[in-house]
Symmetry: C2
Subunit: 208 residues, 2 copies
DNA sequence: TAGATTGTTAATCGATTAACAATC
DNA sequence: TAGATTGTTAATCGATTAACAATC
């Protein structure tokens, strides 16, 4: 139980990756998994997986592997993300609706508790488990629902004003699905989704 | 012009990241950019940016920075992804429609040339610039349209059979938006989109 | 010229991996 | 017991960064 003050960027990213695979393996009914199997799914070297995990305790059984269930809870504990985390979603278009109805966030303890859209015609209509609201209600929603993440599923031009509103309301993590480059204060983390960049990267290794 | 045989994983990933920021900066009318500015947008150390770039030529002007336009074409040349690349999209639901109508792929030279859906009711209807087709036509479409990437915007249960069909049709890059873990031959690259994993990662650094 | 920023060196740090004893 | 897989060491490799001369 050597819990260091803070994980390095690389370790934290890999642990989150293991969690994704383990969560899915659990769904598929798998009870144990070896570092070798995890390596095949994550493309992380198996020695490194064992090393990453053994830094926090002896989670595995020699000759058997790791118990999927217990490894999931151990990693959640290490990442301190075991609870529920509430999300505000912006944009009730196709992308917003896809996100609201997806299991991808829910599987990891994220819940879309509020949806906002600038279009008055959409305000009041249901999307997933929530009703679309006006952005003016953002600050109240953040306080009431303890929202820690804002997800922007809006056109590029609408992204910066919404980011500003989120910052003003005290949200510190923004997930940006638009192509806009967002300017935020240093204490706020922006993650810009970039599937095209990932594709360029994959394509390079395909072409060479 | 020291073009090494193959970029390391890290360099290729960073170059793709620079390209994303540069593409957007160009849209916003920016003509030159310094390594310091690029560093702020990408969170990559400015020394490393200069080092990454100087490995391929002297692209910058001391005291000025890099010309955005020319840097974009240089990086595209280095990544060998300067041309058009055709995509087959699977799933004409909310996510599929969002992808088909997004500029995110188009900005980087990717074009959705074919859309497939298992639902006979959707076959024949238009989505973006294409008409939804039956998956049976996949092989023909791959050959005719020179498709190099398959994007899966379908429920988890539908993903593996489609991956198999893509592999059988000779597609070597699969972009998976479902939560399923896909089994493919070693020569095929699967990129599984995992926004929730990225969020867990961001959340950890927020909580600590 | 003065100020800014590149290109590059040299030193450091952390990630990665092979190998293998321990042990289930 | 025999086979498999973990936990851990020790060595290597590549990524990262500070510093600064070159030069626009």
């Amino acid at each position: 139980m050597t819990q260091p003050e803070r994980l390095s960027l690389g370790v934290a990213a890999r642990l989150a990756r293991y969690l994704q695979v383990l969560t899915q393996a659990k769904k598929e009914g798998k009870e144990t998994i070896s570092s070798q199997e995890l390596s095949e799914w994550t493309h992380v070297n198996s020695t490194q997986i064992r090393r990453d995990l053994s830094g926090f305790g002896k989670f595995g059984k020699r000759g058997v592997g790791y118990n999927v269930d217990s490894l999931v809870s151990q990693i959640r504990k290490i990442l301190r993300t075991a609870g529920q985390h509430n999300i505000a979603l912006f944009g009730a278009g196709h992308l917003g609706r896809a996100i609201a109805s997806s299991h991808i966030f829910a599987d990891h303890g994220f819940r879309v508790v509020a949806i906002f859209d600038n279009d008055p015609a959409k305000v009041g209509t249901p999307v997933g488990n929530a009703i679309v609201r006006s952005v003016e209600e953002l600050r109240a929603a953040v306080d009431e629902d303890d929202i820690v993440v804002g997800v922007l599923a809006v056109p590029g031009a609408a992204a910066q004003p919404l980011a500003d509103a989120l910052v003003a309301a005290g949200v510190k993590i923004i997930f940006n699905y638009s192509e806009a480059l967002l300017q935020v204060p240093p204490e706020v983390t922006v993650h810009t989704s970039s599937p095209a960049v990932d594709l360029l990267y994959a394509l390079y290794f395909y072409l060479t």
